[in-house]
Amino acid sequence: MTILHTTRLLDMKTNVFRSLSFLVVLASSAAALQDKLVVEAGRIVTLAGDDIENGVIVIENGRIKAVGKAGEVQKPWDATVIGGSELVAFPGFVEAHTSNGMDRANENLDVAPFLDIRDSIDPVAFYFEDCLRYGVTTVNVQHGPNCVVGGQGMIVRPTGMTVEEMVVRPRYGTKISVSPKQGKSRATQMQQLRETLDGLRVYLEELIEAERDKRGYAEREALAQGRELTSEEKKGRSMEGKAWKVDGLELIPRGAIDEKQAPLLEMVEGRRMVFLNCEEAMDVEHAIEFARTNGFLEKSVLVLDVRCWRAADAIAEAGLPVVLEGGLLEMRRNPRTGEEEETFVPAILADKGIRFALSSEASGQRSLWYQAALSIGEGLDRSIALASVTTTAAEILGLEKEVGSLEVGKMGNVVLFSGDPLSITSWVERVVIEGREVYDRRKDVRNKHLLEGTQPRGTAAVAEAPVQEDDHAEEEGEEAKEEEAKDDESEDGE
C-alpha cells in the first residue's frame, strides 16, 4: 500500500518536473526572442522633448537603443515588432510609494528595520496585475504605515512569478511613521522613534568600548550569533553620520553590526532612503525635525495624506520631496460655519515649488494616469501633472536615469494606449517592461469582466425577440461572430 502510494507520488513528481522544465524552456526562448523589440506608434510621448509622430522605439537587451521617427531609425532585422499607427506610446508610469502588493503590509512589532518586505511581496497580488492594466511599470513597495520603524522596502517591476524576477532595487528604503501606530499616542510614537536611534547610539558605543577593552570582541560576538565574517565584512570603517557620530567605529568589522541595527546605521549615515509617513499636518514638522537631527534629511521623502498641505511652507523650506496619498482633494467641514471646503492639494505643492509624486491610491481604474488627468482638470500645469507620475516619481526614487521617460539608455518600459494617454476613453493596450511584452489587453480576461461584466447563468442575454427587430442589433449578428470580428479588427490594426 505504502509502496504503491510512493510510486505514484514519484510519478507525479517526474511529471511535474517535466512540465516545469518545459515551461522554463518556453520562457527562456521567449526571452531570447524578445532581446530585440521594436515598438511602433502613431505618436510617441517621450516626456523628454517633443512628441514624435509616427515613431519607433528600438529596445535591445532591456534598454532603449533608439527613439525617433519611422524611417529615421534603424530597425534591427531580427527584432520582434509590436504596436501600430493607431496607438500612442507613453513611458511606463512610476509608483513612487505604495504598501499594496503585499500579504499583510503591517507588522505587529513596532520597530522592525531588520525585516525585508521581499518576504511579504505577493507576485500574483491583484494590485500588480492592475499595475500592468493601467500602465504602471515601476513600483516602490514599502512597509505599511502602521508602524514605528518598518522593514526594508523594494523597488519592483510588476511582472513575474517570483520576487526575484520582480526586483529592480532590493532592500531599498525604510518606512518610518511619525503618525501614531494603532493604539499609540503621538507622544509615545515620537518617544519610541527617538529611543530607537538612541538605542543605536548606545549599542554602537558599547560595542566600541567592548572592542577597545578586548580586541576581536565584536567578531567573536558575531560568530556567537552565527555570522561568520568574510574578508570584506572584517574590515572596519569610520562612521559617516552627518548629525551625530560615534568615534571608533573603524575598530568594528562592518559585518559585526547587529542585523537589527545595521539598517538604522545606514539611515543615520545617509545611505538609505527613508519614507516618512505623515497623516496630519502637525506630523510634518516632527518628521522633518527627526530627519534633520539624525542626519537623513537629504535622503527623506514625505509620504503625506492630503490634510498635510497645511505644512507646505515647512516642506518647501526643508526641500523634501513628497508622495501624495489619500486623494487629490481635501474635503473638510469648516469647524466654524459647518460648510464643506475643498482644497486641491497638488496645486499648492506646485505653487510652493515642492517636488511631488502622485499615488495610484486603491489602484484599479483610478491609477496614476487618472490621478494625473484629474490634476490637469483641476488646473495643474500639464507638464507638472505628467511628471508627477513619471519623471519626478523616478527622480524621487533615484531612478531618473532608468525610468520615467522614453530616452536612449533608459529601461525599455513602454505603454501603448489606444488614444490620448490621459483621455477617459483610452485604454492601455500593450505594456512592455525592459523590452519584454508583459501585457496585452486582448488577453486580459479580468479587464473584459470589468468592462462587460459576466452574464450570470439564468439571466436573459439580449438576443431574444424584441432585439432582433432592431436594425442596429442585426448588424452585429451573433455574439460569436462579433467576437471574431473584433479580434480580426485588432489584428489588422497592427
Partner: protein
C-alpha cells in the same frame, strides 16, 4: 490655487443667502453642449432674470469659458432629509411627502453644487417598502421649499430587496406578533407588503369597499401609478431586485417604473428592455464591485452597463449618489460611462435631459434652450474628460460656483 477653498465657501453662502438683484450675463464658449440637438460652436448664452433668453449674445456681464453644459439633474442624490427620517409606524407610508422634511440648510447642497448638480429628486429614504412621494427641487437659491421647488409629488418611492427589512426585528411587547402589523424581516415579507398594498387598493376599487380616509388616500395614489402618470421610483440594486420590481410592475400593471440604484440591471437586459422601465445607475466603483453595507452584499456594475442599456433604448440616468467623495461626482460617472462605450451625446443626456424627462421637469431644466432656467455648468475642457474640470456653475441665472481664476483651458 488656495482660492478654490474660498470660492466654494462663497458658493455655499450664495446658495443660502437671500435673493439679490439679478445680474444679466453673456457667457461665450468655444462649444455649447445644449443637450438639445447639435453643439453650438463659438456661441454665447444670454442669461437674464434667471432664464436663458438668447443663444446669440446680448447684454450683460461677460464671461468666457471653454465649454458649457446644462446643469446636471441627479435623481439619486440622496439629498438630506435628516439622518434618521425613516418612518417607523408603517412600511407603506405612501401618502407621506418628502417635501415637508427636506433640510435646506444641510452642507450637502454645497457638494451637489460643486459637482454641477442644479436639480435633484428628493425622495424619502429607501428603508420603507412604499416610502412616499418625491419632489424635484433646485440645489441652490433661497432655502425654502417655495423657492426651490420645481415639481411636487413627481413619483412614489419604493424599495425592494433586503434594504427595507434590514434592521427590522420581531415586535416588542406593545405590538402584536402578526405579519399584518409588524414590519417585514425578509425579502418575502417586503414583497408581500408591496403586493398587499396594491391588492388592497385594487380590491377596494373593484368591490367599492368602505375604507377610512387615510386608506382611501393611499389607494388613490397607488391607483394613480396604474391608471395615471405617477411613476414608481424603486430601489433595486441586485439582479434579484430588478426581477422582483419588474414582476410587480407586470402583476399590477404599473404604468411607469424607474429602477433606482439599479447596478445590476444590465444582467437582465431583455427583461428591462421589454418592461419599459427607466434606469438610474449608481456611481461606478473603481473595481466594478459596489459594496452595500446595509445588505451585507455587493453588486457588480460593469463599465458598459450604461452603453448596453442605452443601445436597447432603455432610458438611463447617471447619479452621484450624494457625491460623498469627489470620485462619486456625477460628471465623473458620465466619463466612466463613456469609458464603457457610451457616446458623449448619450452620456450628456444621461445627466441632464433624460432624468429631467423621467420626472417631467424637462420644460424647465435639462437642456440649454431659450426660455429654460439658466442652470449651467462651465468647463475648462471637453466635458467629462478626465483632464477637464468644472470651473463654474450657474443656478437660476446666478453664478453659485465661481473659479474664474482658473478658467484657462486645461493643461498646456
Amino acid at each position: 490655487m488656495t482660492t478654490r477653498t474660498a470660492l466654494l465657501a462663497t458658493a455655499a453662502l450664495a446658495a443660502g443667502s437671500p435673493a439679490t438683484a439679478q445680474e444679466d450675463w453673456v457667457i461665450s464658449a468655444k462649444t455649447i453642449y445644449t443637450a438639445a440637438g447639435d453643439p453650438i460652436e463659438g456661441g454665447a448664452i444670454t442669461v437674464s432674470g434667471g432664464k436663458i433668453t438668447a443663444l446669440r449674445g446680448g447684454r450683460g456681464t461677460k464671461l468666457e469659458v471653454t465649454a458649457v453644459t446644462p446643469g446636471f439633474v441627479d435623481l439619486s442624490a440622496g439629498v438630506d432629509t435628516g439622518s434618521s427620517s425613516v418612518e417607523q409606524t408603517t412600511e407603506t407610508s405612501v401618502t407621506f411627502s418628502v417635501a415637508e422634511t427636506i433640510d435646506f440648510f444641510s452642507h450637502r447642497w454645497g457638494r451637489e453644487l460643486a459637482s454641477g448638480v442644479t436639480t435633484v429628486l428628493a425622495a424619502p429614504l429607501d428603508e420603507n417598502v412604499l416610502g412616499g412621494l418625491c419632489v424635484v427641487v433646485k440645489t441652490g437659491g433661497e432655502p425654502t421649499l417655495e423657492a426651490r421647488l420645481l415639481r411636487k409629488d413627481v413619483a412614489l418611492r419604493a424599495s425592494i430587496g433586503t434594504q427595507p427589512s434590514s434592521g427590522n426585528s420581531t415586535p416588542n411587547a406593545f405590538r402584536e406578533n402578526t405579519i399584518y402589523v409588524r414590519r417585514p424581516t425578509t425579502r418575502m415579507g417586503v414583497e408581500w407588503v408591496f403586493r398587499k398594498a396594491y391588492y388592497d387598493a385594487l380590491n377596494a376599487q373593484r368591490f367599492r369597499f368602505e375604507v377610512d380616509a387615510d386608506q382611501a388616500a393611499q389607494n388613490a395614489l397607488l391607483l394613480r401609478t396604474i391608471e395615471g402618470d405617477l411613476p414608481v421610483f424603486v430601489k433595486t440594486p441586485a439582479t434579484q431586485d430588478v426581477r422582483t420590481a419588474i414582476h410587480l410592475k407586470r402583476e399590477f400593471g404599473i404604468r411607469n417604473m424607474i429602477l433606482d440604484h439599479a447596478a445590476e440591471a444590465w444582467k437582465e437586459l431583455a427583461l428591462v428592455q421589454e418592461s419599459g422601465v427607466g434606469v438610474v445607475l449608481p456611481p461606478f466603483p473603481a473595481d466594478g464591485r459596489l459594496r452595500d453595507p446595509y445588505a451585507n452584499d455587493s453588486y457588480f456594475l460593469a463599465l458598459d452597463a450604461a452603453a448596453k442599456l442605452h443601445e436597447l433604448g432603455v432610458p438611463i440616468a447617471l447619479s452621484g449618489d450624494g457625491a460623498r467623495t469627489p470620485e462619486d461626482r456625477i460628471a465623473r460617472q458620465a466619463g466612466y460611462a463613456m469609458r464603457g462605450g457610451l457616446s458623449f451625446e448619450a452620456a450628456l443626456a444621461a445627466v441632464t435631459i433624460a432624468p429631467a424627462r423621467m420626472m417631467g421637469v424637462d420644460d424647465r431644466v435639462g437642456s440649454i434652450e431659450v426660455g429654460k432656467d439658466a442652470d449651467l455648468v462651465l468647463w475648462n475642457g471637453k466635458p467629462f474628460e478626465a483632464t477637464s474640470g468644472i470651473v463654474g456653475v450657474f443656478l437660476d441665472g446666478k453664478l453659485v460656483l465661481d473659479a474664474r481664476a482658473s478658467t484657462a483651458e486645461a493643461g498646456q
